[in-house]
């Protein structure tokens, strides 16, 4: 299982990486915004994308839309981990085809739960 973690704050990338490691995922790559993330995803091999929303360059929502628009990536599970809390934004993310939405600040338990749910659904 190869995972891409995208956030413009390196501290948050480290936190998410460490949590994922604790959950047993060790094959993790990072990117600091959508623009650097998309080519990595398109190069292939990723099974799961965890991304922030508010980033310079290309935002997480635009990255999600680009992923869904790319036939090779359309089915990639995507989890948004973001401080964006407007209802209309959550609705927008849902409509764009996000698989999970975790609001910052979050707990280790919340992240574990959402990831668990995503893979339950993907597997079934």
């Amino acid at each position: 299982m190869k995972i891409l973690v995208v956030d413009d704050f390196s501290t948050m990338r480290r936190i998410i990486k460490n949590l994922l490691r604790e959950l047993g995922f060790s094959n993790i790559d990072e990117a600091d915004d959508g623009q650097t993330a998309l080519p990595k995803l398109q190069a292939g091999g990723f099974d799961f994308l965890v991304t922030d929303w508010n980033m310079p360059g290309m935002t997480g929502i635009d990255l999600l839309k680009a992923v869904r628009a790319d036939p090779a990536l359309a089915h990639l599970p995507v989890l948004l981990v973001t401080a964006e809390a407007k209802r209309e934004q959550i609705v927008e993310a849902a409509q764009a085809g996000v698989n999970g939405y975790v609001i910052k600040p979050f707990t280790a338990q919340t992240l574990e739960e959402k990831i668990g749910k995503i893979f339950e659904r993907v597997d079934s």
Partner: protein
């Protein structure tokens, strides 16, 4: 305009002549009166000028939309920025305390592990050098068993505490986002102030600076949160499940 100025000049000249006359005739009370009148005249003129400048400044500010933006800054954005910065203090305080608490709980655990393992190591060495009677070895092997149990349960506590420390570092992302917004606001205030100074200096040409709201709302600051934002993960989950998630 020029005839008005001429009239003013004529009146002044007339007064100056009367003043010279009064002084030549030694009429000091008349001279004082005339000096007073002249002073009053120039004061009135100054007030009129200040009035005109104020009017021009006000018009220019309206024209550039500065008036509205500055009162918006003063009424809403600056108080909001104060709340945001207070929230930054709160979050960093919370993160520092939860990190310190976890460390304070971890240190005695590390000391306990160290002490017990040193103790056992000493006995283990004696056992290996065949210096330990069988009866004592029975007691020591029991102790080794309980040490294994102890270290299994403490390592669970240790990883739990380490995760707490890890999660506490999330403050850097949230507070960083909030501070970036405050920096944007300071820049906005600066731009408006510069524009204001430029206008009051009488240079009224220049481009209009329009204020741009950030596209994304950013982290929720509890004290200034509006109803169109969710408050926590449960709200997010509820909203998503209402959308059929």
């Amino acid at each position: 305009m020029s005839s008005c100025l001429d009239e003013e000049m004529d009146a002044r000249l007339e007064q100056a002549r009367s003043l010279v006359n009064a002084l030549e005739n030694g009429d000091s009370s008349q001279a004082d009166k005339l000096i007073g009148e002249l002073a009053e005249m120039s004061e009135n003129q100054m007030f009129q000028e200040v009035g005109k400048i104020t009017r021009r400044l006000h018009d220019s500010m309206n024209q550039f939309g500065l008036d509205e933006r500055i009162s918006e800054l003063a009424d809403k954005d600056i108080p909001d920025a104060k709340e945001r910065l207070n929230y930054v203090i709160e979050m960093t305080d919370e993160a520092a305390h939860s990190t310190l608490t976890a460390v304070e709980e971890l240190l005695p655990i590390a000391e306990g592990l160290n002490e017990r393992s040193n103790n056992l190591l000493e006995q283990w060495n004696r056992f290996q050098q065949r210096e330990m009677p069988y009866e004592e070895f029975k007691a020591v092997s029991k102790e080794i068993g309980s040490f294994f149990e102890y270290s299994a349960s403490t390592s669970e506590v240790i990883s739990k505490k380490l995760t707490e420390i890890l999660m506490a570092q999330g403050f850097q992302d949230i507070t960083g986002q909030i501070i970036r917004r405050v920096i944007q606001l300071v820049q906005d205030v600066e731009t408006n102030m510069v524009e204001l100074i430029r206008l009051s200096g009488g240079m009224s040409e220049g481009e209009q600076k329009t204020h741009k709201e950030p596209e994304l709302a950013g982290p929720v600051v509890p004290t200034i949160a509006t109803n169109d934002s969710v408050k926590n993960q449960d709200d997010v989950d509820d909203l998503l499940s209402s959308l059929g998630f």
